[in-house]
């Protein structure tokens, strides 16, 4: 009775359904974010090394390749944020008394609102 037929699962499984493609896109954002984290380390290091080192990095940020890279990782990060906040209420539902708060509102409360505040503070910190 072994060796009976069973739907095979090839490495390409994630191409087979739209939801699987969306899932893989979501997971793959981590590769982009990881690359960006390394860039942040380089930038921080340059900031510590002084104005000259900092200039070298910042001037290069206007190169088309750097702009393209930033657009790419920004798209990935945005997709990560949105999917993450939308899924948070599924893993951590909030209750008022015995009633579960609708996922929509829970996502706004636990995700989108804090996101707005954090983003505003970060942007303020680099423009003030």
């Amino acid at each position: 009775m072994k060796n009976r037929y069973m739907t095979p699962l090839g490495w390409y499984w994630f191409l087979q359904r739209p939801a699987f493609r969306a899932f893989m896109a979501r997971e793959a954002t981590s590769v982009a974010v990881a690359g960006y984290l390394v860039f942040v380390l380089i930038l921080l290091n340059a900031i510590g090394d002084g104005p000259v080192a900092y200039d070298r990095v910042v001037v290069n940020l206007k190169q088309p390749l750097a702009v393209f890279g930033h657009v790419l990782v920004f798209g990935a990060a945005l997709y990560h944020s949105i999917t993450w906040f939308n899924l948070t209420p599924k893993a951590m539902p909030i209750y008022i008394g015995e009633d579960r708060v609708a996922d929509f509102w829970a996502a706004i409360l636990m995700g989108y609102l804090p996101w707005l505040v954090v983003s505003a503070v970060v942007l303020w910190a680099v423009t003030r």
Binding site: S30, V31, H70, F74, W84, V122
Partner: protein, 115 residues
């Protein structure tokens, strides 16, 4: 309760997921648009901001958790692509990579000098 050691890696993954979701888009706008436009003149202010100790600690927490978030996700992507049998080696690779990133972050942030 019985626990798999995955509980530890997963907790770093999800805390890192929160950090990345909250901070990355704004940081990218900062480094991709604002800093290049402000040019070299902004160095003094940016240096002062990031070397403020609470900011340094915050940056370390963001980087550390985000690195482990990415490491965990990449490990699971590779497992899902058919490398399930190699999950031990993948763990060394991915969490090792995240650890290197974390150590580098600690070093860079500790040696920023004072603003």
């Amino acid at each position: 309760m019985h626990h798999s050691k995955e509980v530890f890696w997963w907790s770093l993954f999800s805390a890192g997921g929160v950090m990345a979701a909250l901070f990355m888009p704004a940081l990218m706008v900062a480094t991709g648009v604002i800093l290049p436009n402000r040019g070299p003149a902004a160095h003094a202010q940016i240096h002062e901001t990031v070397s403020f100790w609470p900011v340094r600690i915050l940056l370390f927490v963001i980087l550390f958790l985000s690195f482990f978030h990415c490491g965990h996700r990449v490990k699971h992507i590779l497992m899902d692509l058919g490398l399930r049998r190699a999950s031990g080696a993948l763990a060394v690779l991915c969490y090792g990579g995240a650890s290197v990133g974390t150590l580098a972050a600690a070093y860079v942030l500790a040696t920023l000098g004072s603003g």
